[in-house]
């Protein structure tokens, strides 16, 4: 059974990536934070007694389900209320500009030149745009497999599909990303 410290360390390790993944999916900071918080809570309450080795797969599965729930709620809400929100001004709390994030982080890094900093921010912004443009399942498979570094079997278990599907999703995602980044002149 995972100890309190182990659970805390695990959550600390995954929380930022989980947040960014949720942002890529839902494109809203507040909702992404809610989803991550819900996922952490569910993991701790329902699976806090599981061995540490099982936590990554369980957490990814919970995060996926919470994200799916969020989309379902959104769909219901949108069906109930007409698109009045389209007339509201964006940017109060929902918009998340990744460039701002990068600018904030770069204030502390005084040694880095302004040019390379801007260049890196631009590259990251473009990578993130391309990732957001991927179909949901491809993006999910790609991020779990290469960012969370789950193996194919665990990714398949977390996504509730076959290993073959995971490989196909990942392959298509990487091909699409590679092509898009090359078109933008980005070399990694």
């Amino acid at each position: 059974m995972a100890s309190e410290q182990e659970l805390s360390d695990f959550l600390k390790d995954v929380e930022k990536r989980a947040f960014k993944r949720s942002v890529y999916h839902v494109r809203n900071v507040e909702s992404a934070l809610d989803i991550v918080q819900d996922s952490m809570m569910k993991l701790a309450v329902h699976y806090g007694d599981k061995p540490v080795a099982e936590l990554p797969m369980l957490f990814q599965r919970i995060l996926s389900n919470c994200t799916l729930d969020w989309f379902r709620r959104q769909k219901t809400r949108n069906a109930l209320f007409s698109n009045l929100s389209d007339f509201e001004s964006a940017g109060e709390d929902g918009e998340f500009d990744l460039l701002e994030t990068l600018n904030t982080q770069n204030h502390s890094d005084q040694t880095e030149s302004a040019e390379s900093s801007t260049q890196r921010a631009q590259t990251l912004h473009e990578i993130e745009s391309e990732i957001q443009a991927l179909p949901n399942r491809q993006r999910e498979a790609f991020l779990m497999r290469y960012w969370e570094e789950l193996d194919v079997a665990d990714t398949a278990a977390a996504m509730g599909c076959s290993e073959g599907s995971v490989k196909t999703h990942c392959s298509r995602a990487i091909r699409a990303l590679g092509k898009a980044l090359r078109a933008r002149g980005i070399k990694l």
Partner: protein, 145 residues
């Protein structure tokens, strides 16, 4: 040959995948302070909830019987625990049987009293089956009023 090509292709894909996500990790390491703080608060709250969940699981087991084996999250009742749970049900069944017996007994006693009154009376019991006698009783009852 084909396998080797596929393997090389897979390796190249993996390499590109990890390079892309390495860029994402660079940016993720320093999220804005308020978001990091909110994530930290959520984490602390989640770990706190786990403590409470475990505490409730243990206290539930403690209440369910002394010899239940204590395993977090799952409740295993021993024989004594199951027996203790069956006692109220057993008491209910015994109580219902006792009430039934007492009621039967009371009813028998009432019938016996009526029979005794009829048999010891001067009037023969057959008189109550006679329509004329019944008419006589009705008239007497009306006059008494």
């Amino acid at each position: 040959m084909t396998n080797s090509y596929q393997y090389q292709n897979q390796l190249a894909q993996d390499r590109l995948g990890f390079r892309i996500t390495a860029r994402l990790s660079d940016a993720t390491d320093s999220l804005p302070h308020d978001i990091s703080e909110r994530l930290r608060a959520a984490r602390v709250q989640a770990v706190g909830q786990r403590k409470m969940a475990l505490k409730y699981a243990v206290s539930d087991l403690a209440l369910s019987g002394g010899e239940g084996s204590v395993t977090f999250g799952k409740q295993h009742f021993g024989w004594w625990g199951r027996l203790a749970a069956a006692i109220p049900l057993l008491a209910l069944v015994v109580g219902l049987i006792a009430i039934n017996v007492i009621q039967d007994d009371n009813r028998d006693r009432e019938l016996a009293d009526i029979d005794a009154a009829l048999l010891t009376d001067d009037l023969p019991p057959e008189a109550y089956a006679d329509p004329g006698f019944l008419q006589f009783l009705k008239i007497n009852a009306a006059q008494d009023r």
